[in-house]
């Protein structure tokens, strides 16, 4: 599969499971979008654990522009207060529209689980055709114990009442994937 095909298939499958895929040119644009989205939805706080210092500076500026509080730790105590969880995703899987998120950090896990909206930044070069194409990477992640690894495909859902599909059962109600084309 060409890179372009991978991107198209990934997008098609992610959207089929109700994720929103948006291309971004650089991390700054991603941060601006995450902050804007949060503000537009009436959120006041954005949780973003696990980012590098320089990235954080850019994110902080974006949050300030939107009048949002930015938190990076102590998420457990702030459960229910942050609207958005912003994390990186290590890989994307075209076949199923899945993002793979190394969630060994507890703060990162909480950001992606307790938020109303999960925003994940994925580098397009890390897209693969299917999970088998990622086997080696996944194996070394699993071997790096203790660890917590998540494959996420769309927002939380349930069909437990009369099989009516309802989003946002326990986890985030929305999943936004910001697809970063590096060098573009």
């Amino acid at each position: 599969m060409s890179h372009n095909d991978l991107r198209q298939e990934f997008r098609r499958q992610a959207e089929a499971v109700s994720a929103v895929v948006t291309p971004v040119a650089d991390p700054a644009e991603a941060f601006a979008r995450a902050a804007r989205l949060t503000a537009e939805q009436g959120g006041a706080c954005l949780a973003a654990p696990g980012w590098e210092a320089d990235e954080l500076a850019s994110l902080k500026a974006a949050c300030e522009r939107e009048g949002l509080e930015l938190i990076t730790q102590g998420l457990r105590e702030r459960a229910g207060e942050f609207h958005t969880g912003l994390t990186r995703a290590q890989w994307g899987v075209a076949e199923t529209g899945t993002i793979v998120v190394n969630s060994a950090s507890e703060e990162l896990r909480l950001a992606s689980m307790l938020s109303e909206v999960h925003v994940a930044l994925l580098t397009a070069a890390n897209l693969r055709a299917d999970l088998f194409a990622l086997e080696q990477e996944l194996n070394s992640t699993l071997a790096d114990a203790p660890g917590y690894l998540a494959f996420i495909s769309g927002p939380s859902r349930t069909g437990d009442i009369e099989l009516v599909l309802t989003l946002g059962a326990h986890g985030p109600r929305q999943l936004h994937i910001l697809l970063l084309e590096e060098g573009s």
Binding site: M113, L131, E135, L142, A145, I152, E162, G171
Partner: protein
């Protein structure tokens, strides 16, 4: 089998059949599932992938103890504590002990069939612990004090109104049944709080990877992630059969599991936990306990036949496609484990009493088998399980009779001929019995029965079939009991179809019943004996084909090699025969080449016999032949769903046989067809009997007859 338990089971089945909401919900569920599954697997070679999963699981099941040791070493090196529970009581003790030692009082659970298997909640609650299920469906049934009615969708038997009523009670606020999103919201709010406050989270696992000591959960709601993250203690209860050697095996299973469960390409969350992960609530690292449950699995894994059951990945598909589940739901079609696999596992995990009635409730329609992502021969295992139940309880009288009669062909055929005389007063001058004396078989009024023919096919044969001097093909016809003794006209139609084709058809007089009824009654030795008699009689070695008009006979003849695998004197001949067995439609297409007939517009619907479409994999040939013969063929949704006959099933479970038949006939009537064609005399019996009972004008024809009629009609 006690009469009381049988009566009680039939009462429950009747209750379910009378529950209109349940019927509608299940029909919608199964209909939606069929479409979603098909979409999920589109473009994939399902049988090949399922065989791959089956083989991978077999390899794992063959070395459970080694995998367990390997897993334990890896997981403990990563900070987990790994336990092995020998049985249900032991597992409950271990988990209650962990709760006591860690001072856990509030427990949240994500969905785990294994915890249902050991009735864990009841035990923990009896210790004064507060247990909250967090999967929406599980929470609903927990609040109602019920068990799950489906392995994947545990509350599928309930309507939105019932859930709204329940949530109104729980919240003290009126809930709108039409606003399902709001109902989900109630659960989200309540359960989020419970998860934040809990001391201990209990999860199941879909995989345990020996290579890394990781456990994985596959879920949609996301509650399992919270249950394994928020509380300071995490207990994972895992059936030993969830052990797989490595990620590759798990990914192979994962490729099929969600597609089989719901038609999703993948579930929303697949989460892998390796060791004691970060957890602030635990003061740094999670207190992780992985409790493996044996409860008979190790013994089962050593069994040459039943180890196959441990391949199951709990997708629920075998319930989703089962016509019986579709009528009565999981509370009446399983104990804890539901659907075809439930019929098997209930005996092994929950014992004779729970299994004794359940295990007979199978049509052998093969729908579960061809949809199972682990390639488990479920109907065969169900029959073998029924055999174990029977061995424990003693053979019922009817089995003893069956054994005696079936192994003695002359006696069997004598009795069939006598049946003609016995029926005469019941049938009057017609060819149907509309009212059986009640003592003969209760609840059989949903269909009339055909009369045994005055002269069986075997007696007409020499008169009908002139010798062919230099035949281009030699065919051995296997009649089967129904064509031979009840519907000889179907055999005559075949002869009309191949008339003038220079084909020699032999009818061996020593052929007997194919033996399927014996196999269905779990009388394997009888089935083998009859098979040997037929092998000797049919002489397949001297024929190009063994042709039969009965799909059930055909698929059972094809099963002879399996049946006689351990019998060196016969296994080779069985292989030979199996390779030559062919159904009518395939034979006609391959060897006869009927002249296409001009459209004459007569509307026909088709019923695909289970043992033809799933047993032999013949789907299109009969319909192509009908179209070529000028019929206006009309499809309908359930064309490949069982008609509810299942041989003696329809005598043992008449209420279900009738309900399944009714659904089919309703769809057939809606096509506007005036003839219903099928190619199995058993299906003809059921369909014709049902239509006659309803007073429907729709005629039933065997494919041979339908084609012979147009051939005759087109002749100048």
């Amino acid at each position: 089998m006690s009469r009381a338990s049988r009566r009680e089971y039939h009462q429950r089945l009747k209750g379910a059949l009378d529950n209109r909401f349940l019927g509608q919900t299940l029909a919608r569920f199964q209909g939606n599932y069929r479409g979603s599954r098909e979409a999920g697997f589109s473009g994939m070679d399902f049988p090949a992938l399922a065989a791959e999963v089956g083989a991978a699981k077999d390899a794992a099941v063959g070395q459970l103890e080694e995998l367990y040791q390997q897993f334990k070493a890896k997981a403990e090196a990563a900070g987990a504590t790994v336990h092995l529970a020998h049985d249900a009581a032991h597992a409950r003790e271990i988990i209650a002990g962990i709760a006591a030692r860690t001072g856990s009082r509030r427990i949240v659970k994500s969905k785990s069939m294994t915890s249902e298997e050991i009735h864990l909640n009841r035990h923990l609650e009896a210790q004064g612990l507060q247990v909250t299920e967090t999967d929406l469906g599980e929470w609903i049934i927990q609040l109602r004090g019920e068990g799950p009615s489906h392995m994947v969708a545990p509350a599928i038997h309930l309507s939105r109104s019932q859930v709204a009523e329940l949530f109104t009670q729980v919240t003290g606020q009126e809930q709108d049944p039409e606003d399902i999103a709001a109902l989900v919201e109630v659960a989200r709010g309540r359960l989020r709080q419970a998860m934040l406050e809990a001391d201990m989270g209990i999860s199941g696992a879909n995989f345990a990877l020996a290579s890394t000591g990781s456990i994985a959960t596959v879920t949609n709601e996301g509650n399992a992630r919270l249950v394994t993250t928020l509380p300071r203690v995490h207990v994972a209860l895992v059936g030993l059969e969830k052990l797989v050697p490595d990620l590759n095996t798990a990914l192979k299973i994962l490729r099929l599991l969600p597609r089989s469960a719901t038609g999703q390409l993948i579930s929303t969350y697949v989460t892998w936990v390796t060791g004691a992960v970060e957890c602030a609530a635990a003061g740094g690292r999670k207190d992780l306990h992985i409790v493996f449950l044996d409860n008979g699995r190790l013994a089962l894994s050593q069994d040459p036949v039943f180890s196959q059951a441990l391949r199951c990945v709990r997708c629920g598909s075998c319930a989703n496609v089962c016509p019986i589940f579709g009528k009565v739901g999981g509370h009446n079609y399983g104990h804890v484990y539901i659907g075809a696999i439930g019929l098997i596992l209930t005996y092994f995990y929950h014992g004779l009493e729970a299994a004794q009635e359940l295990v007979n409730n199978c049509l052998n329609c093969q729908a579960c088998k061809v949809n199972c992502p682990a390639d488990i021969d479920l109907p065969a295992l169900i029959k073998k399980t029924a055999g174990l139940v029977m061995a424990e309880q003693g053979r019922p009288l009817k089995n003893q009779l069956l054994r005696r009669v079936m192994t003695n062909r002359p006696l069997f055929h004598f009795l069939l001929r006598r049946a003609y005389l016995a029926q005469k007063p019941l049938a009057g001058d017609g060819r149907k019995i509309r009212h059986l004396p009640l003592f003969f078989a209760p609840d059989q009024e949903f269909r009339s029965l055909p009369v045994v023919a005055a002269e069986p096919l075997r007696d007409r044969w020499s008169r009908l079939v002139p010798p062919v001097a230099e035949p281009r093909l030699k065919v051995a016809l296997f009649g089967g009991c129904l064509v031979d003794f009840v519907y000889p006209e179907q055999g005559e139609a075949l002869l009309e179809l191949i008339d003038g084709q220079n084909i020699q058809v032999d009818y061996a007089r020593d052929q007997s019943c194919c033996g399927l009824p014996a196999a269905m009654a779990s009388e394997e030795e009888t089935a083998r004996e009859v098979a040997r008699q037929n092998l000797a009689a049919l002489n397949a070695e001297h024929h190009d084909y063994v042709l039969t008009l009965c799909a059930s006979c055909a698929s059972h003849l094809k099963n002879y090699p399996k049946l006689l695998a351990g019998d060196p004197g016969w296994a080779g001949r069985a292989e030979h025969l199996a390779a030559k067995v062919i159904d009518l439609a395939s034979f006609l297409q391959k060897e006869v080449g009927l002249e296409p007939t001009a459209a004459q517009g007569k509307a026909v619907a088709y019923h695909a016999p289970c043992h033809l479409c799933r047993g032999l994999g013949v789907h299109e040939a009969p319909k192509e032949l009908l179209r070529d013969a000028g019929y206006d063929y009309r499809p309908y949704d359930d064309e490949e769903v069982c008609c509810g006959f299942g041989g003696s099933y329809s005598l043992d479970f008449p209420e279900l046989s009738a309900a399944i038949l009714e659904r089919k006939l309703g769809q057939v009537a809606a096509t506007g067809a005036d003839t219903l064609v099928t190619d199995c005399p058993g299906c003809v019996l059921q369909l014709e009997g049902g239509l006659d009972h309803l007073g429907s004008p729709i005629k039933v024809r065997h494919l041979a007859q339908a084609l012979a009629e147009t051939k005759k009609g087109s002749e100048p």
